[in-house]
């Protein structure tokens, strides 16, 4: 048995039966991660020492048999935008290259309490700005299915690592597809929860109104177990929801017969790679076979989603990134500067990459006097229309099915010099974030040897329903069980 191939559920079964220790599991994960990361570059930082310590504590818990949960003793890693006390947290930016937070993000604390074992921090597009993980200031992450291709972004390190078995699951973050898109490119399962379902305290913000922390795993059940541990109100995050957290693992087992699945016609318009569309159509037939009703629906304002998303992103990100000024933490360039403005300028000039600078400038522009109404305010109004689109659709169906990305994983460098084309690869995943609704990304086949992802989108707080449908699909299909041939045809 190779412990790095286990799902969370499988590993948990072995741990509680004492057939495997957390220390063994963690050592195996670390060894594989160190070895394969030479090729993948999925990690920015490894936290071996902390991981071994947490694994020992988990083993003690398992030995005592008290307060053992589905994640106790399970190794994972977190996207590098989640603050980890004592473990460097960079957002894959030079400006935070040596920043070690003095505190944990709420989700990191919650996983620690659940007994999970943090083995390291995942590479990402700098501050989450990108769709390919090439915008990391350190190195691009490779797609384990084809090392010449991108893993998607911005949680590219997380998706690549989970696909390659470097940790059993990952904590990612989705601002406009950043969990789902790389999950689709790397053949893993990922959830963008309802906005506010998972507290953001300690998440280095990209877009405060959209940012959603969520799990990436090898199957729906693993994602459900992680969400169970991290969801719920946090008094330190005023935007976190006070709604009760249902028992996701129990609710998941219910049959899906009779549930209504909507196919938004705007998401199947021209421009989708034929192999991707074929995989999606096959998935629809699969759901039909499971007894679900299929309905075509319309989200008429979909064509504005990308503009709304990016305008609001630019605006909020420009303010969220203002605190990186070299005064209190992180890079402090310009030590010989004549005045404080030069210190700010030089720190930010040296610390931020080109995509980050581009978005900050655009953000300052759309918020500036005279342009605010035309851009920011207009975008907020259209955002309401996007929300209404979803609300209307969910009056007719229980969930929507859509592609995650119009294409499979593209080659490194292919879109790097063309930001607009890069932005367009997010077209199917961005609308959910301004609308605040949850979406589950699932493997649904292959096109030309590369994974194809689909997403199930539900109304607010319908994660249980999405898990239920996704679990039924995975019980009937094998796509999610396929592993990339990264260590010599092991798939």
């Amino acid at each position: 048995m190779d412990p790095t191939r286990l799902t969370v559920r499988e590993a948990h079964d072995l741990l509680v039966r004492r057939q495997l220790s957390s220390l063994e599991l963690t050592r195996a994960a670390l060894a594989r991660a160190h070895a394969l990361d030479e090729k993948l570059h999925a990690f920015v930082t490894f936290s071996d020492e902390l991981a071994l310590e947490q694994a020992r504590r988990a083993d003690e818990r398992l030995a005592r048999g008290d307060s053992v949960g589905p994640l106790t003793g399970i190794p994972f890693a977190a996207k590098d935008c989640l603050s980890t006390r004592g473990v460097r947290t960079t957002c894959s930016s030079k400006i935070l290259e040596n920043y070690v937070p003095p505190y944990n993000a709420t989700v990191v604390d919650r996983l620690d309490e659940a007994g999970a074992v943090l083995i390291g921090k995942h590479n990402m597009d700098e501050f989450g700005m990108g769709s390919s993980c090439e915008n990391s200031a350190f190195f691009p992450t490779r797609n384990p299915w084809d090392l010449e291709r991108v893993p998607g972004g911005s949680s590219g390190g997380s998706a690549a690592a989970v696909a390659a078995g470097l940790g059993a699951f990952a904590l990612g973050e989705d601002t406009g597809g950043s969990i789902r898109m790389p999950a689709g490119f790397c053949n893993v399962t990922g959830l963008k929860p309802t906005y506010g379902r998972v507290p953001r305290y300690g998440l280095i913000a990209l877009v405060s109104s959209f940012d959603s922390i969520g799990p990436l795993g090898r199957e729906v059940e693993d994602c459900a177990a992680v969400l169970q541990a991290i969801a719920g109100r946090d008094p330190r995050d005023a935007t976190s929801l006070d709604a009760p957290v249902p028992d996701y693992l129990a609710g998941m087992q219910k049959p899906v017969k009779g549930l209504r699945l909507g196919i938004p016609k705007e998401y199947f318009a021209a421009g989708i790679q034929p192999g991707v569309e074929a995989a999606l159509r096959a998935a629809i037939r699969q759901f039909e076979g499971l007894g679900m009703e299929i309905h075509e629906v319309s989200l008429p304002h979909t064509r504005y989603a990308l503009a709304v998303y990016y305008l609001l992103l630019f605006a909020e990100a420009s303010a969220n990134l203002a605190r990186f000024d070299g005064v209190r933490f992180g890079l402090a360039a310009g030590q010989g500067a004549e005045n404080v403005i030069d210190l700010f300028l030089q720190t930010r000039r040296e610390g931020f990459g080109p995509e980050v600078k581009r978005r900050i400038m655009l953000g300052a522009y759309v918020l500036s006097a005279g342009y605010y109404d035309a851009y920011y305010l207009k975008a907020q109004k259209v955002r309401t229309l996007l929300r209404q689109d979803f609300a209307a659709a969910f009056g007719q169906v229980d969930a929507l099915l859509a592609p995650v990305c119009p294409t499979t994983a593209f080659k490194l460098g292919e879109k790097l010099d063309d930001p607009l084309t890069m932005y367009l690869s997010d077209i199917h995943v961005v609308a959910t974030n301004p609308a605040g609704v949850p979406a589950l990304s699932l493997p649904c086949g292959f096109a030309d040897g590369l994974p194809v992802g689909m997403q199930l989108i539900g109304p607010q707080l319908s994660e249980d329903r999405l898990f239920q449908i996704g679990h039924a699909y995975q019980a009937a299909t094998d796509w999610h069980t396929l592993r990339p041939p990264i260590d010599g045809g092991a798939a």
Binding site: C81, L82, S83, T89, C91, L96, Y99, P101, P102, Y103, A105, R200, Y201, G202, L203, I204, A205, V207, S208, S209, P235, R236, D237, A238, T239, A315, E316, S318, A319, L321, A322, R323, F324, D325, V327, R328, F329, V340, I341, F344, A364, L367, S368, A369, Y372, Y376
Partner: protein, 484 residues
């Protein structure tokens, strides 16, 4: 030469006296911090990922102030980000209220005792925000202390309704008294918990135009407010008279030279790029919460003034003077409680001798060396006739100097008024015997001599002679000489 009248609006920044900061749990009592950067956390230092949570106590206090300023408390208010870079601003934006302030449309009456009668000054809005850190400059570098960063700050903005420096001063005084009465701000200007900004423009008397204004920032005392405003009014009037134009700019106040100095011109005017704070949800304040706050309002200076008039038989002007300072009104009431003498007499001493000493010596009303009980005792000594008013003033001076009780001073200096008839009769008889010429003049009809004789008795007793008894004895003795 044209006569100009000023148009003045005030912005008052008041730190709220909450236990914790506006958006985190750190202590807001930065003045008591043992050293810099000890009352800090990821939130108030703007660490990546930290998030604000609204301090409900600050909301309560702001509602109280809004109500006391006759404002509407807005049921939906929201926070916004005010974006600018400065080393004392940890996040690169200040969380403030912009489009949706907590309170708006209020007013306050000032200069009730002026010839023109009371004037109503509009209060545009009162909104919550967070204070910045403190910078300390050392030669070629600066240090930042974040203990103050995030302390709740209430900004109270007036309409440009004031047309004299006196009106501006009275408005500021009244706002301060309200804040202190509500217990939400100590009013301690020296500690910077209350700061003024004045917007000033001038126009020919009779005009209703609102001309280009300047903004004088960081006025940290009433004196600075008065001097800077007066200077700026003069400056603008002279500028216009000499053919110049006032340009919109931010001015600083140079206390040492007594001049306002331009800080930055319009060309550098900030675009703060306000937008709604996405880390906070809109703040709903329901009617029940406003009603509860209204019920919890303490007696405000205006009401207390009315009560002083009614209960203590003071004139409105006297009552207003006492209520210009919460501490003064408190002092008065405590003294009245302790004294046997009538409240009017107590007020006479407080408004006269006591305030004169306080102002001369620049003393803090809250920590006077003469507590209200001792002033009451002094007033009672005068009223009861143990000492006369002149001696009373002398004793009060000594009380300020030595901190002793009036009884001790009177006993030590043997100042008790002589009202013993026998003792005084000896003195009176002696005076009359020593001054036969003056007595003769009196008997011949020159009545003014009587006062002179009174004075001689007072001199002989070093002021201790009870004037009433002296008068009776003198009259009796002189009558005896007339009709032996």
């Amino acid at each position: 030469m044209t006569t100009y009248e000023p148009v003045i609006g005030l912005e008052i920044h008041a730190e709220l006296r909450t236990h914790s900061k506006m958006f985190c749990g750190c202590s807001a009592d930065y003045a008591s911090a043992p050293e810099p950067n000890t009352l800090i956390c990821p939130v108030c230092t703007g660490l990546p990922g930290a998030m604000p949570v609204v301090n409900q106590k600050a909301i309560e206090q702001a509602i109280l102030v809004g109500l006391a300023l006759n404002c509407t408390i807005n049921p939906t208010n929201a926070f916004a980000r005010k974006n600018y870079f400065y080393p004392d601003l940890p996040k690169g934006y200040q969380i403030s209220q912009y489009e949706h302030p907590l309170a708006s449309h209020g007013w306050l009456e000032v200069l009730e005792d002026s010839e023109a009668g009371p004037q109503r000054i509009g209060v545009t809005r009162a909104h919550l925000e967070e204070d910045t850190a403190k910078l300390a400059h050392h030669g070629d570098h600066a240090l930042v202390d974040f203990n103050r960063a995030g302390v709740p700050l209430l900004e109270i903005v007036s309409e440009p309704d004031m047309h004299t420096v006196e009106a501006a001063l009275d408005y500021a005084t009244k706002v301060r008294a309200i804040l202190r009465t509500l217990g939400v701000n100590s009013g301690d200007m020296e500690k910077g918990v209350l700061r003024f900004e004045a917007n000033v423009s001038v126009r020919p008397v009779g005009s209703t135009a609102l001309n280009t204004r300047t903004e004088i920032k960081n006025l940290n005392s009433f004196r600075a407010l008065a001097r800077a405003t007066a200077y700026e009014i003069e400056r603008q009037a002279h500028l216009i008279e000499s053919g110049g134009t006032v340009i919109q700019q931010t001015m600083g106040w140079d206390e040492a030279h007594g001049v306002t100095v331009a800080q930055r011109g319009k060309e550098e005017a900030h675009d703060y790029r306000y937008f709604p704070e996405p880390d906070l949800t809109p703040l709903e304040i329901d009617a029940a919460r406003v009603d509860a706050a209204r019920a919890a309002l303490p007696e405000l200076p205006v009401a207390r003034t009315q009560r002083f008039v009614k209960d203590y038989a003071l004139t409105p002007k006297e009552a207003r003077l006492l209520n210009s300072e919460t501490a003064l009104a408190d002092y008065f009431e405590a003294a009245v409680q302790a004294a046997m003498s009538p409240a009017r007499t107590v007020n006479h001493w407080i408004a006269g001798e006591l305030l004169r000493s306080v102002n001369e010596k620049g003393l803090d009303l809250e920590a006077l060396p003469v507590p209200p009980g001792r002033l009451a005792a002094l007033v009672d000594l005068v009223t009861g006739g143990t000492i006369n008013a002149n001696t009373g003033r002398e004793v009060l001076g000594e009380m300020f100097a030595s901190g002793k009780t009036p009884e001790t001073i009177v006993a030590e200096k043997n100042l008790s008024q002589v009202s013993d008839q026998d003792a005084l009769l000896v003195v009176v008889t002696q005076i009359l015997a020593d001054n036969p010429g003056e007595v003769a003049k009196y008997l011949a009809g020159k009545e003014t001599v009587f006062q002179w004789l009174m004075g001689q008795v007072a001199r002989a007793t070093r002021g201790k002679a009870d004037p009433k008894v002296t008068r009776e004895l003198l009259e009796q003795a002189l009558a005896n000489k007339k009709h032996p």
